[in-house]
Subunit: 689 residues, 2 copies
């Protein structure tokens, strides 16, 4: 075996001599040309800007670049203006962002013209679901880069700081300016002095890159950590405890961002435990943070077991509180009403809450989209959400506009992305998962960007149109045609492919228990709360399939503004991508294609599998233009991606066929697995965490 | 889980109410019409013929059938003549065969016309590789129907006898007239008096069906069982021991058929252990058996570790002995020179040995053709061998004519098939594996039959063109078009498909160790004798692939008669199906298609997988016309068949690619498994034996 493996490696190397781990992300080292930089000041942030220019300049050799910090009405916050002579901004961080943009344009061969760029959201925040023992909830790229277990877990080493610096640089290069360092299912230990000293060390590394640190806090910390008898937010001792803790934090970290809170959700403590509302809880914390400039990001991800429709609960619980929150509270709302599914309609809280700051929470880590095994580029999904029209203030009231301050007055605007980052050499487990981190940052900066534009940028940065940087030097024009176009096409199709082979036509949450990776439409262990089991969501029976959220059903459609509510309520006008989200329909329901619902479902599953098969071809074909290591790693992932897509198709079709009692259309490929076997296999991804 | 399984079963039942285990084989019960039978005599054999007619008559109700035993020059042995009034034969067994033919024609809706049918071979023998402990070597259909372990293993029960009777009937219905009850790797215990008494019981059940029993014997039985100091075939005590033993056997079984011997092969003892030749050993036994009318079937399956080409050894060892064997010795030769591979050229001993009786040994059990997992219909493979022209007595000297007495004077003619029968309800593990048992019997009777004709018959018998016997009554014409045509097409393509996804273009013996099911081109444990490892056979290296058997190589081609030797020796004239059997060629060797050898290899593997994918479609489409149980069981087997074909393709292409260093053509589907993983998985079929 050993000898054979040896041969194999030799072979891989032979095809392309360069091997890369992917650790450089979209910030590959380049042969830089000399550049003359004119700037005043020598802050740490400015030093970074200078260094980046010197290391990465690809413009005219010996050219001058002027970096100017000065007031400008066209620039907001840390926005910047690219000019023919350099970068102008109101802040040094704005300069740094402008420099990254300049270098990005050079590296991607995009024109540089006078142009102002302002951020869509003021706070562009990563949420790390990192536990203090180093594990990462829904992390598929190794352990935490911030926390570890073992001996002396709190020691801050040079290696730690170097990694945090790389992390900060990557984030700054795409405009991310905040990071929540720990899991929303927070440990009270997070606020202990020992852990806060490590937070300070992290914050010190982040600061020059313009990144503020935030912490997730457990609502019952006063009792659990402080030893108080209660954590009631109206209790004066509790308030005092928080005041002291916040003061301690700001003593260490003067630019500390604030708290992220998951309260009264999935077993986490919250104000309701003391007969208080979410507003009571959030406002208490907001009041404590306000003097220091901190904010509270309060999650609206709530649902309880008894309710008749989980999708309707966050809205039902939070809408009555609209107007009751302090101006430094931001309600953090997941893009869809359930939970980061492959496809959901937008949450009706977007645009619905008009007197409260609301921020979208996107999930970069692919909890429900193939973990770090499947190549799924998420920008098109986020674009779909951000561009959805809520109609709350008339046509054009998109989710983007309802959250970025254009539609409503908000003291703070923000957007969060649950990070997909871990200790893996390539940071994200899958080389293409880096594109999702990249895309989040870019969309947080400019929520009008398209997935196409983002993919284009990322491919050019991560691989290279520059002949001198390719394994087999291709002329740039050829590279665009032979490499960029097919690879981008694959990325842009990948999310729809995942929807097709996992949950087409509005199906949702039919994963096997626990891991949220493989199919489990049958999964319903005895005694489990129904809303944690797929049959609750798909409702398949002899009469049909889908969750009835119409007026005759849970009436969740009524949470949407007209004309959406009526559109969704009628299967004839409901977009077919959401059909089974809102309707329980007979298997023989006639679709717009003329096919029956059952046949259409089968065709979607088939299409998804064929799409992944095509991705394999696309990738294999670009082998000469990628370094050996990244090529082989992605190729291997795509193989498993294909096998698992096939398993999804087989499992769902064979399971649902028990109810439809209809043949799978004979023009599509047959299942290659038996349902019985599929119900036994465990696709759990046990490698990481 | 339980509830779900319940639903699934209900579903399967709903599609088709009849469920069949397949135990009836091609002899399904039919609603018989009354028939008047005119016959004289009441032997047990004749009684069976009468009973079959009464139970299965599908002709004109109340018609008369005359069964006449009388001499007829046009009839040979147990042949028969169908006449307008009934069946005429020289023996009562001939009558029985004629009756089965008559009924078969009725059930398959074939015309009945006056016609003589004579057997191609006098001895049409199944070889059971059944061990006395009940296990079956290379058996994939459960344990032995003859032997068992446990308490009182030799007790003959009524259940035993009923099963043996069903077995005998099935064999008689297709003309099989002999059965070797135990493994060629024989236990000396086989000849003990205790076991012989069970053999007598089996023979008593078989006799009325015209089936003689034979035994495999261990050459060293005189020492191991008889306690003699030697088993030297020239030793008088040894000879006497055999005389006594044979006498004992014939005392119990007057029509005992004779011995099958595997000697000096794969560790079995033989005459060479005593400095004697195969002729010495075989002749000694032949002399002992002759007075009783017994024969010796002496296997030519010999090869030793040191030799430079295993394929050349049997010929090298046996040709010098041609003419030295007694007339009641038949040399039993496997169809190809190596060992029942998916495709081999015929063994050059056929036609080569001109003064010795030679019988073909075919393998019905799918040791190298997918066990009882894959649907592989073997008749086309056997037809290919039997119709191969040896040129030994001029053009037209086919293997069939060289072994059935047409080309050479042979006192006895015979053909053997290694059985695929076990205790499984459907006898053969896979419903379609029954077709191979059927095909062997039919070809043994008439070695000019085509695979097409045999498949046609088998499908009509095993399923039914009769509307009253189908789950969803189809008019016969529709049934032929909708069911028979596609299913037959699938069967006829299936062996070529297996060659494509396992070992195209003359590749052979690249199985993983031991089980001979999954791929193992890399398999070469340290210290294993080379001719038991795949690299010995494929010889893949950077310069190319294939076993050089040309004049510059092992020269095995010279064992063939001209023009074959020269044809095989030159890659330009060598049939491409045998190309890598005879040649080691560069990866870029230009094939007749214009493709390189590497590309052509890839295309064959791809084609094989796509063929199995098509089989799945064919089978799924005929669901309405098959009972639920057989449909579901075959469907499930085809799913695994597909998955394993894919594994074959991936394993071989990725393994060989290490040497070819060429891309897999981009128009074919990509591997979906990693070589590393494939080298670890164990496809051993552990269910049976």
């Amino acid at each position: 075996m050993r000898a054979i493996t040896g041969i194999f490696i030799l072979f891989a190397v032979a095809l392309s001599v360069r091997a890369e781990t992917g650790h450089e992300l979209w910030l590959r080292k380049h042969k830089a040309d000399p550049v003359k930089i004119i700037a005043s000041g020598d802050s740490a942030t400015l030093q970074i800007a200078l260094h980046e220019l010197q290391q990465g300049w690809q413009g005219k050799a010996g050219a001058s670049v002027v970096l100017t910090v000065k007031p400008d009405e066209s620039i907001r916050g840390d926005g910047y203006k690219l000019t023919t002579s350099g970068v102008q901004a109101k802040t040094e961080l704005g300069i740094l962002y402008g420099v990254y943009d300049l270098l990005r344009r050079q590296q991607t061969l995009q024109p540089i013209q006078e142009e102002v760029s302002n951020p869509s959201y003021e706070r562009r925040v990563l949420n790390h679901w990192d536990n203090l023992d180093g594990s990462v909830e829904r992390g598929y790229a190794g352990h935490s880069i911030f926390w570890r277990s073992g001996t002396d877990p709190l020691a801050v080493t040079e290696k730690d700081k170097a990694l945090w610096r790389e992390y900060a640089r990557a984030n700054a290069s795409i405009g991310i300016n905040g990071t929540v360092l720990n899991n929303v299912n927070a440990s009270p230990q997070m606020l202990s002095s020992e852990y806060l000293s490590r937070v300070k060390a992290i914050a010190d590394v982040m600061r020059p890159y313009g990144i503020r640190v935030y912490l997730s806090v457990k609502f019952s910390s006063p009792s659990l950590l402080g030893g108080l008898k209660t954590s009631d937010p109206l209790d004066s001792q509790v308030i005092q405890w928080w005041k002291n803790k916040v003061k301690e934090i700001y003593g260490l970290i003067p630019d500390f961002g604030g708290f992220l809170v998951k309260a009264n959700s999935e077993g986490q403590p919250g104000p309701q435990d003391y007969g208080r509302t979410h507003a009571h809880g959030a406002n208490m914390m907001a009041d404590v943070l306000k003097p220091h400039g901190g904010i509270v990001m309060w999650r609206a991800f709530v649902y309880s077991p008894g309710d008749k429709d989980r999708a309707a609960q966050a809205y039902a619980e939070f809408m009555p509180l609209d107007g009751q929150f302090r101006d430094n509270v931001i309600i953090q709302v997941k893009n869809g009403p359930i939970d980061f599914q492959p496809r959901e309609p937008f949450s009706p809280l977007f645009g619905g809450m008009k007197k409260t700051s609301v921020m979208p929470e996107l999930q970069i880590t692919q909890e429900y989209l193939g973990h770090s095994i499947q190549l799924v580029f998420l920008a098109p999904m986020w674009e779909e959400c951000l561009q959805s029209d809520t109609y709350q203030e008339g046509p054009g009231s998109t989710v983007a506009r309802a959250t970025d301050g254009r539609l409503f007055q908000q003291k703070y605007t923000a957007i969060a992305g649950v990070a997909n980052i871990g200790l893996d050499a390539n940071w994200c487990g899958h080389h293409f998962a880096q594109a999702n981190w990249y895309a989040f940052g870019r969309l947080a900066w400019d929520n009008g960007l398209t997935g196409d534009r983002i993919a284009d940028e990322w491919i050019r940065l991560t691989f290279s149109p520059n002949p001198s940087e390719q394994p087999n030097a291709l002329k740039t024009g050829d590279w665009l045609e032979t490499f960029l176009t097919p690879v981008k096409d694959m990325m842009l199709q990948s999310r729809e492919a995942a929807v097709n082979y996992m949950m087409p036509l509005g199906l949702h949450h039919i994963f096997a228990g626990g891991h949220h990776y493989g199919p489990g439409p049958w999964y319903a262990p005895k005694g489990m709360r129904p809303d944690w089991t797929p049959p609750y969501y798909h409702q398949a029976d002899a009469s049909g399939i889908g969750f009835d959220r119409t007026r005759g059903g849970s009436n969740a459609e009524s949470q949407y503004h007209e004309p959406l509510a009526s559109q969704f309520n009628d299967p004839a006008t409901c977009p077919e991508i959401y059909l089974l989200w809102f309707h329980h329909l007979p298997w023989t329901y006639k679709m717009k294609s003329g096919r029956t619902l059952w046949d259409e479902l089968c065709c979607h599953y088939e299409k998804g599998v064929l799409q992944v098969r095509r991705f394999q071809k696309i990738w294999d074909k670009v082998e000469p233009y990628v370094d050996a290591q990244r090529f082989a790693e992605v190729q291997s992932k795509l193989r498993r991606h294909y096998r698992d897509a096939q398993i999804w198709k087989d499992a769902c079709l064979l399971y649902f066929q028990q109810f439809s009692r209809l043949p799978i259309p004979y023009d599509i490929e047959r299942p290659v697995n038996d349902l019985e076997d599929l119900m036994k296999i465990d696709l759990k991804w046990s490698h990481h965490n």
